[in-house]
C-alpha cells in the first residue's frame, strides 16, 4: 500500500473507531442524567452540573482521536 493512502486510511479509522466509545458513553451518561432528573426534578441543577463535567471528560477521548487523525494527515 502506498504510504499516502495508508496515512489517510489510518486517519479515517482513528477518528471513526475513536468516536465509538465516547459516543456510547455519552449516550448512557446523558440518558441516566435525564432519568434521574425525571425521578427527582428538585436536584436537576446539581445533576446538570455534574453531567457537564462528565461530558467534558468523556468527550476528550474522542478529541484525542481527532488530534491523532490530524497528526496522521498533516504531520506524519
Amino acid at each position: 500500500m502506498n504510504p499516502e493512502a495508508a496515512k489517510l486510511l489510518g486517519a479515517g479509522l482513528a477518528m471513526g473507531l475513536g468516536a465509538v466509545g465516547p459516543g456510547v458513553g455519552l449516550g448512557i451518561m446523558i440518558g441516566k442524567a435525564l432519568e434521574s432528573i425525571a425521578r427527582q426534578p428538585e436536584v436537576s441543577g446539581d445533576v446538570r452540573t455534574n453531567m457537564f463535567i462528565g461530558i467534558g471528560v468523556t468527550e476528550a477521548v474522542a478529541l484525542y482521536a481527532f488530534v491523532v487523525a490530524l497528526i496522521l494527515i498533516f504531520v506524519a
Binding site: T49, F52, I53, G56, V57, E59, L63, F66
Partner: protein, 284 residues
C-alpha cells in the same frame, strides 16, 4: 385538488430546484481545509531569541476579543441601573452563572478567592469562541476569514497552564507543601500500593493539563473545519443546487457552533473550579 395554491408552490419549488441543478456551476476552486488555520502575518516584527513577535491572525483576533470584553464590562459597570437593560441583563446572567452555577456548585471553600479567576477565564474563552465565529478581515490580503484564537494550541495550553499552576498554588498555600503532596495517596492503603497510587495521581495531574488544553483546541478546530468544508462544498461540487442546500445546512451548523462555544467555555471554567476545589479540600 383541495389546495391549488399549495400545488403551485410545490411545482415552483421543484422547478426551481431542477433549474438550479441544471445551471452550470462557477469556476472550480481548489480548497484546502488546513489553509484556514494558517497563521498569516499581518504586521511583520523581528524575532527575539526563540520568540517571533509578529502580529498574526491569532493575535489580531485575541485583541478584538479583549477589546470586546473591556468595552462591554467597563461600559456596563459605569452605567448600572436598577432596572437592567438588555446588555446589563446578559452580563448579570453571565456573572450569576459563573458565581452560582460554576464556582458555587463545585467548590466548598475559597469561593471568594477563586471566583475572579474562574469567572474571568469563563468570560475570556466565551468571548474568544464567539468572536471566532465572526468573519473579520485578517485573512490573506485582508480577506474576511473566521478563526478562533482558541483554535490555536498555544493559547489553550497557556490557559490550561494557568489552571495547573493555580491548582497547585492553592493546594500548597492551604495545606502546606508536604501535606498536600502526601494526600495524593489515601492514608489507609498498604505502603507499596500507596506508592503506585501516588505515582498514578502524579501522572494524572500532567494529563489534566493536556486534556484541558486539547479539549478546547480540538473542539474549536473541528467546528471551524466543518464550517469551512460546508462553505467550500459549493465550490468543490460546482453546483447551485448544492450551494442552496448547503447554505441552509451551514446556518444550522453555525447555530450548533454557538452552542459548542458556550458549552466549551462552561466546561473549561467548571473543570478549573473542580481542580482548584479538589486541591483545597482534599478528601483523602
Amino acid at each position: 385538488m383541495k389546495h391549488p395554491k399549495r400545488w403551485i408552490i410545490g411545482f415552483l419549488l421543484i422547478g426551481g430546484l431542477v433549474i438550479l441543478a441544471l445551471l452550470p456551476g462557477g469556476e472550480k476552486l481548489e480548497f484546502e481545509v488546513a489553509g484556514e488555520f494558517e497563521r498569516e502575518v499581518l504586521i511583520p516584527l523581528p524575532t527575539i531569541g526563540p520568540f517571533d513577535l509578529s502580529v498574526t491572525k491569532t493575535v489580531a483576533y485575541l485583541w478584538v476579543a479583549v477589546a470586546v470584553i473591556v468595552v462591554l464590562t467597563i461600559l456596563i459597570s459605569r452605567t448600572l441601573k436598577v432596572h437592567p437593560g438588555r446588555f446589563q441583563y446578559a452580563m448579570e446572567a453571565l456573572y450569576e452563572l459563573s458565581r452560582d452555577g460554576i464556582v458555587g456548585s463545585v467548590m466548598k471553600s475559597g469561593k471568594a478567592t477563586w471566583f475572579p479567576y474562574v469567572g474571568g477565564v469563563f468570560l475570556f474563552i466565551l468571548v474568544n469562541n464567539i468572536v471566532g465565529l465572526i468573519p473579520l478581515p485578517f485573512g490573506e490580503h485582508h480577506q474576511p476569514s473566521f478563526y478562533a484564537p482558541t483554535a490555536n494550541l498555544n493559547v489553550t495550553l497557556m490557559l490550561a497552564l494557568f489552571t495547573f499552576v493555580f491548582t497547585h498554588y492553592a493546594g500548597i498555600r492551604k495545606n502546606g507543601a508536604l501535606r498536600y503532596v502526601r494526600a495524593w495517596a489515601p492514608a489507609g492503603a498498604p505502603p507499596v500500593l500507596k506508592q503506585i497510587i501516588w505515582a498514578i495521581h502524579a501522572v494524572s495531574e500532567i494529563f489534566r493539563l493536556i486534556s484541558l488544553s486539547v479539549r478546547l483546541f480540538a473542539n474549536m478546530v473541528a467546528g471551524h473545519a466543518i464550517l469551512a468544508v460546508f462553505f467550500a462544498m459549493a465550490l468543490i461540487f460546482q453546483s447551485y443546487l448544492v450551494a442552496v442546500a448547503l447554505q441552509g445546512a451551514s446556518v444550522l451548523i453555525y447555530l450548533f457552533e454557538i452552542f459548542v462555544a458556550v458549552i466549551q467555555a462552561f466546561i473549561f471554567a467548571i473543570l478549573s473550579a473542580v481542580y482548584i476545589g479538589g486541591a483545597l479540600d482534599q478528601d483523602h
